[in-house]
Amino acid sequence: MKNTAKKIYIALIFLFLYAPIATLMVLSFNASKTRAKWGGFTFKWYTRLIQNDDILKALGNTLLIALLSSVIATVIGTVACIAMNHMKKRTRTVMMGITNIPMLNADIVTGISLMLLFISFGFRFGFGTILLSHITFNIPYVILSVMPRMKQLNPSIYEAALDLGASPVSAFRRVVFPDLLPGILSGFLMAFTMSLDDFIITHFTKGAGVDTLSTKIYTEVRKGIKPEMYALSTIIFLAVLVLLLVNAAPNKQDARADKKQAARF
């Protein structure tokens, strides 16, 4: 009884999460442009997608900006964490507060203020301004996920490495960094997703002729979103799914190996 309830509950959660995506995937094979009518099964939106330079360019921009901004933000954020870790407690709390504010700010406020900033400094709007603003809003997320990891570190280990003759740089690289890595990676992934997601900040900081996927999709709202976008979303979803499965498969073996090892002891 309890088990069935559990299963139904999980099924419901999955239904709510995936029903919209499933609808979209089904519609990407619909020959008719409207969702109200099934016009037969077709791959034509996929072939049109491949031929549509604008969409592919927007996809390229999106991935490139997400990647560059999250890498750069990860470096800056991690360095900032190291610095903050060595501050006095009060300054550190104040600094943490300051870095948290941009996350609480509404996106539209961040977007417009960045736009105004770029204008007053005479920037030329384009790829560069989008990248700069993505780095800006990504940094707090990196700090947020690296900082707790930092606090867990035992400072004596670093000191012990120094005592044993390591230079500060190699002590950091070989002792501190490996322990921080999970935090850094999750910060990187979070930054990457935030950047992929963003519409409103990109809208206000982009120049003419540069589009990311989200701004491109949004411009289609008035005339109706083109089914090519359904096709693209389906591909992206499947790609991520495959990556996750590939990622998860060896872990299972690991888990089994771990268990075996545990049993032996």
Binding site: A36, K57, I119
Partner: protein, 358 residues
Amino acid sequence: MRHRNVKNKALLGGIMLLAAAGIAGCGSSGGGKGGQVIVYNWGEYIDPDTIEMFEEETGIEVVYDEFETNEIMYPKVESGAASYDVVCPSDYMISKMIANDMLAELNFDNIPNAKKNIGAQYYEQSKGFDPENQYAIPYCWGTVGILYNKTMVDEPITSWAQLWDEKYADNILMQDSVRDAFMVAEKLNGFSMNTTDPQELETAKNSLIEQKPLVQAYVIDQVRDKMIGNEAAIGVIYSGEAIYTQRENPDLEYVIPEEGTNVWIDSWVILKDAPNKENAEKFIDFMCRGDIAVKNFEYITYSTPNDAARELIEDEDIRNSEIAFPDLSKFNNLETFVYLGEDGDALYNELWKEVKSN
């Protein structure tokens, strides 16, 4: 275990990196010999081929950018964040831009096709927002009317009043935007749709509140799919969408109500501080050419004000369609939105909030 996990995540990152680098490599940009022109237009509001043809013929590189609503276009243009040359706003937004001195006066000698091909009645209608026809050249236009499903009503629909008929309770779709919704109520009561008279607006508001229980949903672009899917009997819709919905569902019929309606016009304008004015003129002139305008008409399917283009439409049904090309002189009380000033906008928004929250 943990290290393994980390390695996998790194792998994932690596794959994404490769994907990004690979796709980004495809994008390329080249500068034109004849300089450039920066165009800011609605999304999906041009046949991409015509841009390529323009670039080939003139050697001018087109930097093309798109917006989704007038309201989101305005702050970008006003701030000067990206210096655009040519923009294609709607009627009321053009009057706002004129009021704020953002537009350049056009030199029609450099845009001969605009004088030659665009029908006189559209310039006449444009006077509502551009009184001297100095700033705007009509690009797309249409009416707002009622789309109804012949199988779901038992009488011809002719009037906005039928949107208040209890027979159609839960079968009515209204537009979910302030001005469009108030337009319906104002026309119903015989007012101008540009009125700012508080008394008249109060009456219109009460009509909308009275109608609210009958309305199935306030929608924007879902009206297309809902009407095609037989989910509602009557809905307020833009004429440009009507042709498309009819093609998908032959039971649908479009009508301009007898009380009059909104004639909207999206027009090309050149910004006052446009960096490439000459190229902007060339671009607009090119878009006004009959053979180009007809390509755009076929792509966008919104009515074209270009008489030369209309001659070139091959499909006779479309060329003579009452929906796409109604004879404006046959209808009474056709109006075009104008900018009502900040106070007017605020008043409308306030009343609309009351309607929606009632």
